[in-house]
């Protein structure tokens, strides 16, 4: 409902003026609610990521069955006490396969982002700091890169190289490089004019010294935000590739190929697709939430704008 400008401004002014006073007198309940709203999203995001990492590392010990063991007496069974999330068409335990699939998703998600980061950030810093022909060349290449969407580029590369874990990492990592180049270049451009960089140069620091000692440490926090959002899109892209049958080939379990295999059985056994897709979604959501929370924390422009998160 549109308020008049005056009333709106008044209500904002009241809210601003009242803030410090009310902070002291709010009841314990609303204080708890306020804190929960502030930290619940980050907290749950971090908890989920920690649990996923734990599942990936401890897969051999915590999964109830082997991911490849076929129980022929229990083909396509629904969730039960014996098989918590049911079984697939070969009588394999879905929960165990999902736990093992966590490894693929996290390995690809995190490694691809590290690859993109390690190649993209130096290129971006060089482009932004040195400028000139080098910058023009790097940015032209980046523009070309961006003409392919992450999934399309990964699709072409994986098709060319074959679907293995390593190739998926390379394909998605290469696709993420331009994100980091553009970001690091923008940050380097704005930091280049700062006084400590000028001082560093006046003190006789060389280009490499300035880039490593002054530029990079000052952009790392922003880069980390984007990196965690990129992990989310890397996981989603991996799942997409596996879904299209271009990821890690079966019988190795990955969330995407479980979902893809389950598609043929959605009529009778929807739990196969439902649970594997849920796993993908929860993981993507968790990394997105963490990235968002970090951005709210680090981006001064958005600071104080409503509730942080979700």
């Amino acid at each position: 409902m549109p308020l008049t400008g005056k009333r709106k401004r008044n209500s904002e002014a009241v809210a601003l003026a009242a803030e410090p006073k009310t902070a002291g007198v709010v009841s314990g309940l609303s204080r708890t609610w306020h804190l929960a709203r502030k930290y619940l999203p980050v907290g749950s995001g971090m908890t989920i990521v920690a649990l996923l990492m734990l599942a990936a590392i401890a897969a051999p010990w915590i999964s109830p069955y082997s991911p490849s063991a076929q129980y022929t007496d229990a083909v396509l069974r629904g969730p039960s006490q014996r098989y918590l999330l049911g079984t697939d068409m070969y009588g394999r335990d879905l929960l165990s396969r999902l736990i093992w699939g966590t490894r693929i998703s996290l390995e690809v998600g995190v490694s691809a982002v590290i690859l993109g980061f390690l190649i993209g950030v130096p290129l971006g810093v060089i482009a932004g700091y040195l400028g000139g022909t080098i910058e023009a060349a790097i940015m032209r290449l980046t523009g070309l890169w961006l003409a392919f969407h992450l999934l399309l580029l990964a699709l072409i590369i994986v098709t060319a190289l074959g679907g293995t874990l390593m190739n998926e990492i390379i394909a998605i990592g290469i696709g993420l490089i331009p994100n980091f180049i553009r970001l690091a270049r923008g940050l380097a451009l704005s930091l280049k004019a700062s006084e400590y960089v000028i001082a560093g140069r006046a003190a006789g620091g060389g280009n490499l010294y300035i880039m490593f000692r002054h530029l990079f440490p000052n952009m790392i926090s922003t880069l980390v935000v984007v990196a965690s959002l990129d992990v989310a899109s890397a996981i989603r892209t991996e799942a997409g590739l596996s879904f299209l049958g271009l990821g890690v080939p079966p019988p190795t379990a990955s969330w995407g190929n479980i979902l893809s295999e389950g598609r043929e059985y959605i009529q009778c056994c929807p739990w196969l697709t439902a649970f594997s897709g849920l796993a993908i979604m929860v993981a993507v959501l968790a990394f997105n939430v963490i990235g968002d929370a970090l951005r709210d924390l680090l981006d001064p422009r958005l600071r104080g704008e409503g509730a942080p998160g979700p």
Binding site: P2, K6, E12, F243, T273, D292, A307, G309
Partner: protein, 334 residues
């Protein structure tokens, strides 16, 4: 202005050629031999040699490359290895399906996303509105379109039996009637075919549209936040303008400019989403064609589909650059 547009055009051409070169390179280093893929492992040596010659794979690479670029620019991608038709004709048949899906889902994304983003930004001090809108947009952003699509299929097609499970509907009839101008001669046929198309379109378009709406919501929220704190908004308010006028006349228009810049990115997102959506819903289209082509190692088919995808992205970006300059007079035509 004209000079600016010409310059953008001149930049787009090498980009197009560069992107096509990447496609060509990727296709040529493919480990699988197309002839073996086509004829099977037991094919005789003579048959294989005939096949290689027929496809022109025995000629020098630079000749193949030059021919590929030259022909691609005329939409001639050769003949499919598995089916008896040219890739060009197949592309033209599939293109309307993908265009329809992309347009419909973009429309849904914009109609859901921009109002949600604006409402979220304007109500940023009202957590119940801002917070819930942000949660929904985050869900849209995080749910993979192929998962959301399957969930929709399970509920609305399998359980409730409201929508068809596969296919793209009778789009050919609609287009034929439109093209031949016989729409008015057979209005009932036309309406039936149209209804069939829309019926098949509903779920895929909603699946893709909803996931895209998450992105649109966030972008328009931050664009609105940026604009609403500007001096000219304060000026407009202090002139005593109605808040509605401030939002609709001053804020909304200026907010659309930063949104325009991400259209290029958005097109890539939508096309990639279309690849997945078409696969989930078994809808005919460029994406399905690409995936089928990869599965069958049908090189010309893959090359054609990827080239068209890339061309689209580059051309849309070019269009946005030009549009941007037309809309925002502050842009200098470097």
């Amino acid at each position: 202005m004209t000079q600016y547009i010409v310059r953008r055009l001149l930049v787009a051409i090498p980009m197009l050629v560069g992107a096509m070169s990447i496609v060509f390179l990727a296709m040529r280093v493919l480990p699988g031999d197309p002839c073996i893929a086509m004829l099977g492992e037991e094919a005789t040596r003579e048959a294989l040699r005939d096949c290689v010659r027929q496809l022109g794979l025995d000629r020098p690479l630079y000749l193949q490359y030059a021919e590929y670029i030259y022909r691609s620019l005329q939409f001639d991608f050769g003949r499919s290895l598995h089916f008896q038709y040219t890739v060009g004709s197949y592309l033209w048949r599939m293109l309307p399906h993908t265009l329809l899906l992309v347009t419909a889902s973009t429309l849904i994304a914009v109609l859901l996303g921009i109002p949600a983003g604006v409402a979220s930004a304007l109500n940023r001090r009202n957590p119940s509105i801002d917070y819930s809108l942000r949660v929904v947009s985050l869900l849209g952003l995080s749910i993979p379109v192929f998962y959301f699509g399957i969930l929709l299929l399970i509920v609305f097609s399998l359980r409730l039996d409201l929508f068809p499970l596969i296919g793209g509907g009778d789009l050919d009839t609609v287009l034929d009637l439109l093209k031949s101008g016989e729409v008015f001669a057979y209005p009932l046929d036309f309406l039936n075919a149209l209804r069939d198309v829309l019926w098949h379109l509903a779920l895929p378009a909603f699946a893709l549209g909803f996931t895209l709406a998450g992105t649109v919501t966030r972008l328009s929220r931050s664009a609105m936040l940026e604009v609403i704190n500007q001096d000219y908004i304060r000026t407009a308010r202090s002139k005593g303008l109605h808040e509605r006028t401030v939002v609709y006349k001053h804020a909304l228009r200026n907010m659309l400019i930063p949104l325009l810049t991400i259209i290029g990115l958005f097109v890539g997102l939508t096309l990639a989403g279309a690849v997945l959506t078409e696969t989930v819903f078994a809808r005919p289209g460029l994406g399905k064609m690409l995936v089928d082509g990869i599965g069958a190692r049908d090189y010309p088919l893959v090359q054609g589909a990827v080239t068209v995808f890339t061309m689209t992205i580059i051309l849309v970006n070019l269009l946005v650059d030009v549009l941007y300059a037309v809309i925002d007079p502050r842009i200098s035509y470097r």
